[in-house]
Symmetry: C2
């Protein structure tokens, strides 16, 4: 299991050198993101909604209120598209035409179904908490029966996906290389700041270790 | 012109305190973003693709290769959804159930049409360059006739939109306030690094002033 079959609707036709269909490439990109943009269709109208998510094996899990119309729609097995994008830089070429962006994106296609098994729900909701901050699920109060019942949990099987990336500097035409214009890349990244304790937090409670290292370090 | 009419499919039903329909609120959020996630439908399948964009007045402009199947589809006046999300923080509550994210998002609904007038195309492509880096359009070589012909430019009228935001700390149940659990927010932001000159840049060309200040400063 590495490369997915390419089907017409996920083949990257433009600029094929940027395309890939490799789950091994895609999954780390999915796992490094905190939100996905989830697309679905109601009455021929497309919707794109940002959502927290977690990937486990070959599935993406979404959740929300059982009262959400969106989740009610997705619970019917609707086709959906889950897209994750890391924007890595702005590419400034000598010509306007060759301006671009550096990015890594994954577009996932699948159908969503509702998870109703309580134990499975509990297990996956813990993973959703860890997707927000690794290690957090061992801290805090897990969902009780009432909260579990109020939460709709959706599973999207990753049926097809495509990875598209661009990296590196600008690519200009030979004729443009002598233009007196600055060319290069402005790097971009998502950065975490020092954690801010809730104003009503008991001052005896110290910052947990899982917030003291890595991307969360002050 | 401030608040849009709310129509059923853009009304934010869940958590109405997070909803708004105000263009004055939405447009700065659109303008502060470099990419949007664009949703459209082909044969009942939703697609969500990250794209550069620029907003001018009540329109969003997208562009790409005239050979792109996606742009060819959008050029037919297809309904589309353009979503911009700023992820501002991870909200860690004492209960898993109340974990959340701070964010500001705009969901735009409209139909896309092709712009074929050459002068209008030239003018809007300059704005697209400035949307990437303000001030950049005055630098570099503008698109020539061949490049203009190779570029498909799409206009999406902002027919309806909804703004949804969350800010501030965690909201826990009274019963959970005494749990010995750290609660608060991990702030997140998109950060620009120091510009990196192209490896083949003439060393006599200095970093332009529009890259020396604000978010681009080293």
């Amino acid at each position: 299991m590495t490369e997915l079959p390419t089907i017409p609707n996920t083949r990257v036709r433009r600029l094929p050198e940027r395309g890939s269909y490799d789950r091994e490439l895609a999954y780390p990109l999915l796992d490094a993101a905190q939100i996905a943009h989830v697309g679905f269709v109601v009455d021929a109208q497309p919707y794109v909604i940002p959502m927290l998510f977690v990937r486990i094996d070959d599935c993406i899990f979404l959740h929300g209120s059982v009262g959400s119309r969106m989740l009610q729609h997705l619970a019917t097995g609707a086709p959906c598209c889950v897209t994750v994008t890391h924007l890595d830089g702005l590419v400034l070429a000598r010509s306007h035409f060759n301006h671009s962006a550096n990015y890594r994106s994954v577009v996932v296609f699948g159908h969503s179904t509702l998870i109703s098994d309580l134990q499975q729900k509990e297990r996956i909701l813990l993973k959703l908490v860890d997707a927000l901050v690794p290690g957090r699920s061992l801290d805090g109060r897990a969902a009780n029966r009432k909260e579990l019942a109020a939460t709709a949990l959706l599973e999207v099987q990753i049926e097809h996906l495509s990875v598209k990336t661009r990296s590196g500097g600008p690519k200009d035409l030979d004729d443009d290389m002598n233009l007196p214009v600055w060319a290069g890349v402005v790097p971009l990244q998502s950065a975490a700041g020092a954690p801010i304790a809730a104003s009503d937090l008991n001052p005896d409670i110290r910052l947990p270790s899982y917030l003291q290292s890595g991307v969360y370090a002050a």
